[in-house]
């Protein structure tokens, strides 16, 4: 499979378990088989990764119920939650859509390597060590860069009146 390693890595980052990642990958492949067609994704890689990610997140919920750890998702989400509005502030679906649009607009203005770093950390749930190897940066540099991006996101959302 062409994107097997990438999908497996994503699933393992989220679930924190090699076995769970393999199962997520199998589930994703089955789901892709069922949905293509009628779906015609422009990017097969992104489409497969989304399926893997959703599958892994579902499996993570099951893990939580079983009290199993090792996932990067909680840490990544905690980091991101610091710069996003609290639950109570998101009053309705409309505000949620506005927030998504604002985050996308913010990320669109970032330099590509910073946006890649952001997506890789919070969407792929990659660890700092993995990002360090992928981007050729030191782990400390990765953390500092992500921290600065989050602060800028926070300021941006404040400026937009969403925070």
């Amino acid at each position: 499979m062409q994107y097997g390693a990438l999908c497996r890595s994503l699933a393992r980052n989220i679930t924190g378990s090699r076995e769970d990642a393999e199962e997520c990958l199998n589930d994703a492949l089955l789901k892709a088989w069922e949905t293509i067609p009628p779906a015609h994704p422009e990017s097969l890689r992104a489409y497969l990764l989304r399926i893997v990610r959703n599958s892994a997140l579902n499996r993570l919920e099951q893990q939580k119920a079983k009290k199993r750890g090792g996932s990067e998702i909680p840490a990544a989400y905690d980091e991101l939650a610091e710069c996003l509005p609290a639950k109570d502030n998101v009053a309705n679906q409309v505000e949620q859509k506005e927030l998504q649009a604002a985050v996308r607009a913010f990320l669109a203005e970032l330099p590509q390597h910073q946006r890649d770093l952001f997506v890789r950390r919070y969407w792929y749930a990659s660890s700092a060590a993995e990002l360090s190897e992928l981007f050729g940066l030191s782990e400390n540099n990765v953390r500092v860069t992500l921290s600065r991006i989050r602060k800028r996101l926070q300021k941006y959302l404040q400026k937009e009146g969403l925070l």
Partner: protein
């Protein structure tokens, strides 16, 4: 914000960003970023160090020399028997001794021309077109203040004795090949050794010159110190050319025959800062077969303003022995 909301937020990111993040561009190591410019700078320095000395050592291109064309002509009678008379003609005008007297600066070209006929009473031996090998001896008497010699172009002090040879063998050497200029600017009378006098001729630019032709070994009293003692008068005539000048940079750079005339090429560097008391002597060995004593003799006297061109000319036309 709940995990579900964050997940929904992240799921709203476009596919292209997810694709792009799947294979991010790895940044080049910082050491490489610093090393490459450093290596490039070192290479540039090395190349510059290798090329710059060569550039400095390159001789400047020769450019056409602008001469101060000052022409003087003096008539001399030469008798068949070798007895010469004193000058019978005088310059038809006042000879400017320096460029400043003509109202021109060094960089300007003086154009005052003095011309009279030059005649010789001796019979001519006919047309001579072949020029033969000659040897010149340059003796520079002691001049403590002298700093430059004419022949080597090198700075030196004290007495210097230089043997100069140039190869003028060949048939019918053209004017252009023999001398790189063709306009005679000074005509100097020929004197025979039998009629040695102390009279000297003032040449432009404060140069005095004395030309003597020796057809046989002179008496001991008359033997110039710069005449080679082993000179073979059975085969050759000896033409001694001496200059007394403020100009140290003066050289005989060639001789050629034009019909019944023998033309000596003299070059003088028209430099600033002349020094007094410089004497430059050339002894030219001329085969008797050329009958040089029966020819009207003159010199092309060229004032040069460019030191590099002068040095190049001397270097090209005089072979140092």
């Amino acid at each position: 914000m709940s995990q579900a909301e964050i997940t929904a937020l992240l799921n709203s990111l476009p596919d292209e960003w997810i694709d792009s993040a799947a294979a991010p561009q790895k940044r080049k190591p910082i050491s490489l970023l610093r090393t490459v410019p450093a290596i490039a700078a070192c290479l540039a320095v090395l190349i510059a160090a290798a090329v710059y000395p060569r550039l400095r050592g390159t001789t400047p291109p020769r450019v056409p020399e602008t001469t101060a064309a000052v022409t003087q002509s003096v008539t001399t009678s030469v008798t068949e028997s070798g007895q010469s008379t004193s000058q019978t003609g005088q310059p038809s005008g006042t000879v400017p001794t320096t460029a400043s007297e003509t109202g021109l600066s060094d960089s300007q070209s003086a154009s005052a021309v003095f011309t009279t006929e030059t005649t010789a009473s001796g019979s001519s031996s006919g047309q001579q077109t072949a020029v033969t090998t000659g040897t010149a001896v340059t003796t520079v008497p002691d001049s403590a203040s002298r700093t430059t010699t004419t022949t080597t172009g090198q700075e030196s002090t004290g007495t210097e004795h230089t043997t100069i040879e140039w190869d003028l063998t060949g048939e019918c050497i053209s004017t252009e090949e023999t001398v790189p200029y063709s306009v005679p600017v000074v005509t100097i009378p020929l004197r025979r050794w039998e009629d040695i006098t102390d009279e000297v001729l003032m040449l432009p630019n404060t140069v005095t010159a004395d030309f003597r032709l020796f057809t046989a070994l002179p008496q001991e009293d008359d033997l110039p110190e710069w005449l080679p003692p082993d000179f073979d008068f059975a085969e050759n005539d000896c033409l001694v050319v001496s200059f007394e000048s403020n100009c140290a940079d003066l050289a005989v750079t060639g001789i050629r025959l034009e019909g019944d005339s023998a033309v000596l090429a003299v070059s003088c560097l028209d430099a600033v800062g002349y020094q007094d008391g410089f004497i430059c002597c050339y002894t030219l060995k001329i085969p008797k077969s050329l009958n040089i004593n029966r020819k009207r003799f003159r010199a092309e006297y060229r004032h040069m303003t460019d030191d590099a061109v002068f040095r190049g000319l001397v270097k090209e036309y005089l072979i140092l022995g």
